[in-house]
Amino acid sequence: MRQPVKIAIPSDPKYLCLTRSVLQQLLSLHEAPEDMARKIVLCVDEACSNIIKYGYGGRCEDPIEISFEIENDTFTVKIRDYGKQCDAGKIKPRKLDEVKPGGLGTFFINEIMDTVHYCTKREKGTLLTMTKKLRQGAAASGIKN
């Protein structure tokens, strides 16, 4: 895949399904295992939801730019927003022993993706980059699946 697949959506939750649909089809084209594809779609969806909720404070007309790449069996997603910058050090997943609503999205991302990096070295917003090996056994560590 020499060129990334790019999609930009307004920060309105009703457009999240578009991102999921494009990503699902891309992963299907690359024959990603079905359960792996579902988990990756979930993480990208959660990341975009967090941007809408926290980065843009619920505003619906701001941009979310997403690019997908698959290279050597590694999936990479870059998600750019122009909202309130997140403090990566303060992003903490919910404790699992707390059965309460909320806080699960970040947990899903950290649990599923191989790497998660928030870059705020820019005037506005955040660039979130996440990677995931598409097939079990292909990863050197093989810890996450």
Binding site: D35, K39, D45, S49, L96, V99, K100
Partner: protein, 113 residues
């Protein structure tokens, strides 16, 4: 995408809420509204039929956790039925599968309530 609902109320105080669609940040508030109104009727049991739910995210899970909390507070039952593999996966990742009462079908969920 949105969600659609189908209610079924039995004479013995059991309400089944069947959800059709995808439970994400866009649709979860609507699901929450429907469930909250059911909580207020103080039914003996609420069964949420998820067999037509193809996707659920953390907001959907959080909405259902509220049902669990209602159940604990009211001593009424809150059961989930018909979880697809995709939905079950998300519950498993969240390690919440053992916290909820889950059943293969709504018929099974109706038993013993």
């Amino acid at each position: 995408m949105g969600v659609k609902f189908h209610f079924d109320e039995s004479d013995n105080g059991v309400t089944t809420l069947a959800i059709h669609g995808e439970m994400d940040m866009s649709s979860s508030p609507e699901v929450r509204d429907r469930l909250t109104s059911l909580f207020k009727t103080n039914r003996r049991a609420i069964i949420v039929d998820l067999s037509k739910v193809a996707y659920i995210d953390s907001s959907g899970i959080a909405t259902l956790v509220e049902g669990l909390q209602w159940s604990h507070a009211s001593k009424n039952k809150f059961r989930l039925a018909g979880l697809s593999p995709a939905v079950r996966d998300v519950f498993e990742i969240a390690r919440l599968l053992s916290i909820f009462e889950t059943f293969a079908s709504k018929e099974e969920a109706m038993e013993g309530v």
